[in-house]
Symmetry: C2
Subunit: 205 residues, 2 copies
């Protein structure tokens, strides 16, 4: 009935909570495939190679860039990040829905490659919470936090190019997961997700 | 944060099950307002005036048509049906979300009056089930059932003008209610539902 799988791109400023939200969403929707990003930044505590990210050296990363192995890649805050092409293309062709969570510029490049992708911007309820969260996770220096906040302000300038905005309120992230789940579920029923053949079949039933 | 309320128009062929689905949805989402239609057809068993429909005489109905009291009205299978204007306009202006379930032609006229309305087409999984359901509810004669099936085939020709298609599978109507609920929830987060002011506020935060 439905065509190829749908691609959901969840993005937003660092500290808006997209990692936690996407993890909770994947627990609820186990059939949703997940595209693991690659990065040259060092793993944070608890992060696992091949699950949180593919942690590659800059040399290995750049070799893969040269081979055309990325759908998109970018330098962000001094590290390289990228979306490996193979898995995404194969998964969507096989008809599975797929979720990924690149940085905002990465999301916009994915949109260029996949105009049908559904882009969801995760926004903190108050911008001041971004600083608190970044400070609380203690994985960045003060300079890095200042830099991330600066980037965050630049990132929201792209918000109009997204399809949905979900607010991740302090202490109500369960609500934001519900919102994400509703979006993923509802998008399947949009008329333009139906192939022309399926609609013609209905019209002639 | 959000502008005026959203209007959800649930429609589809007679017998597709939209009455039951909308009733279940309203139980789950009690804050969703409901626009009661008016009709000149006689009440079916269990239907209550002012709740299921406003049951009006043809004379009273036509007087209100002349007064401009309807957003849209139409003759369907020998009876008049219409959507009273006042309640809909007031509810949306006050910022409440509203659901209604007119016949398919009514839905299309509502779309002309409210281009932002979200139109959802309820489709039976198999067209043969329509006949079975119409026969099972024993409220129509055989001629009426034949006529309703003919109308149903005409109605699906308008399916491309809807925003969503939800399949109401036999014995899985709980799933269809989940789908409807997801659509109602997700639509609020679509970027074009955000007022320009709200987005500008985010951009300058």
């Amino acid at each position: 009935m439905f065509g190829p799988g749908l691609l959901f791109v969840v993005s937003g400023p660092s500290g808006a909570g997209k990692d936690t939200l996407v993890e909770a969403l994947r627990t609820r929707m186990p059939r949703l495939k997940y595209s693991v990003s690659a990065t040259t930044r060092p793993p944070r505590r608890g992060e696992k190679d091949g699950i949180s990210y593919f942690f590659w050296t800059r040399e290995a990363f750049e070799r893969r860039v040269a081979e055309g192995a990325f759908l998109e890649h970018r330098e962000y805050n001094g590290n390289l990040y990228g979306t490996p092409r193979d898995f995404v293309e194969r998964t969507l062709t096989d008809g599975y829905d797929l979720i990924m969570k690149p940085e905002v510029n990465g999301a916009l490049r994915i949109q260029q490659a996949f105009p049908d992708a559904v882009l969801i911007f995760i926004l903190p309820d108050k911008f001041s919470h971004l600083r608190e969260r970044l400070e609380a996770r203690r994985t960045e220096t003060n300079e890095e936090i200042a830099r991330r906040l600066e980037i965050a302000h630049a990132e929201v300038q792209s918000i109009r190019q997204f399809d949905y905005i979900v607010i991740n309120e302090e202490r109500r992230s369960e609500e934001a997961v519900n919102d994400l789940e509703a979006i993923v579920r509802a998008e399947k029923f949009r008329i333009h997700r139906w192939g022309d053949d399926s609609i013609r079949e209905v019209e002639h039933s």
